[in-house]
Every structure is written in structure tokens, then in C-alpha cells.
């Protein structure tokens, strides 16, 4: 995905690749991680609250290769789901030559995800310490 904001000025765009080969995922305290990268006294902007977050990190793709860290809360995933299934996505798919194929692929992924999620929820609920132990390996 390509990210641009006013602060980047004429430095083109940040090309962020969220594919498996280009990013690392961890669940940790995002606030503490950011504070370890930037001296906390000089951080500008709001920081995430303390606690566990999903952290996606990696390097942006050329032309500008910079390390990046994104911190996502559970609420962000709610918003991602809403955007991914919203009117904008419907318009996007309807306007794509391969939209039907992508729709079927998305539908399959959403279905697979739902089943996998329920199994994960059962595992976490029945054996919370076990799944934490697995994760720390």
C-alpha cells in the first residue's frame, strides 16, 4: 500500500508491503516499543495506551527504504473489517475487471477466517495459559 501525508512533502510516497515476506508481526506493548525507538521525552504526537497491541514492523519498499513500525489496537481491526466490507470496497470490486474473482477470494478468506477465529477463541478460552505458552516459544 502507498502512504502519503503532507509531512512527507515531496518525498514521494512510503511503499509499505504487508506481505508475509516483508513484515514482522508481534503482540507486545506498542507504547514501550515506540519509546525504545524514539527517546520518550522528545516524542511528538499521541502514543498508544499501555498494554498489548499488534505490532507490524518492517522496511518500506523502494524508492524510500525506511524502517517503520505500526501499532494496531483491537479497535483498529474493527475499522479494518468495516472498511473491507463497506460501500467503498463494493464500488472497488464492481469497477475491477477481476472484481468477481477477488470477491470470491475475499469471501473464501472471510469464511476461513471466521472458522479459524472461533477455533482460536475456543482454545484461548479453554486453555488461556497454554496458548500464551505456545506464543512465547
Amino acid at each position: 500500500m502507498r502512504y502519503w501525508s503532507k509531512g512527507l512533502a515531496d518525498r514521494s510516497v512510503l511503499n509499505i508491503d504487508w506481505s508475509e515476506k516483508a513484515r514482522r508481526i508481534s503482540v507486545e506493548d506498542g507504547r514501550a516499543l515506540l519509546a525504545s525507538v524514539i527517546p520518550s521525552r522528545s516524542i511528538r504526537g499521541d502514543l498508544p495506551p499501555e498494554g498489548a497491541h499488534v505490532v507490524v514492523a518492517g522496511d518500506t519498499q523502494p524508492p524510500i527504504v525506511w524502517r517503520y513500525i505500526s501499532v494496531l489496537t483491537a479497535e483498529d481491526f474493527d475499522h479494518i473489517v468495516k472498511l473491507a466490507t463497506g460501500a467503498g470496497m463494493v464500488r472497488f470490486l464492481a469497477g475491477q475487471p477481476r472484481g468477481r474473482r477477488l470477491f470470491l477470494r475475499l469471501a473464501r478468506l472471510l469464511l476461513g477466517f471466521s472458522v479459524k477465529y472461533i477455533r482460536t477463541w475456543e482454545r484461548v478460552k479453554l486453555c488461556p495459559s497454554g496458548s500464551r505458552r505456545d506464543r512465547s516459544r
Binding site: 509531512g7 504526537g45 498489548a52 463497506g86 467503498g88 463494493v90
Partner: protein, 108 residues
Amino acid sequence: MWLWSKGLGRLVLPMDFSRSEVVVEEDRLVFKGWVVALKVYWDYRLSLEEKDVLDAMALMADRQVMEHLARTEGLRFVALLVRRSLAFGFAYLRAELGGHFGSREREP
């Protein structure tokens, strides 16, 4: 979501997807919004192509992410997902069928 990159220096950008505007530009899905922080009021745009949408789904299906969501959100998250997916499926089919019948109606 909070985004930090080396090029941003000491600045951590908070991004609120719930307030972003979604538009379709050629073959890309574009989110437009504002980054609001101390002394910062910047517009941003995040554009995704087909591959990025699938990568975002794969990210959500990562084991660690799923465990975290299951622990913090419980079944509420999957309920949201199922409800939204069904609405999305119907909306897409309506758009497809509407376009199909609409284009046939326009034929001479």
C-alpha cells in the same frame, strides 16, 4: 493505528481509519483522512491495490493476531465480521446484478 517511520523522526502519526473517506481511483482503493497531533494537521492518503487487500486479510489471519483478538475481543469480533460479510456479499451481488441488468437494458 499509530505509524512511525525513520523519516518521520520524533513524530508518531496517529491514524483514525473510522474517520477516513473511501474513494475508488482507477484500480486502487484510496483512504483519505487527517493526521491530527500536537502542532500537526496533515492530510493523508493510503492507497491499496488488490494485493494489499489480500495481505491485510492475511495479517488478520496470523496466529498471534488472531489469539490477541480472541483474547481481547472474544466472539464480538467474529459476530461483527459475519454480520458485515453478509451485508457486503449482498451489496456486491446487488451491484453486480444491477450493473448486469442495467447494461442489458441500455442495449438497443
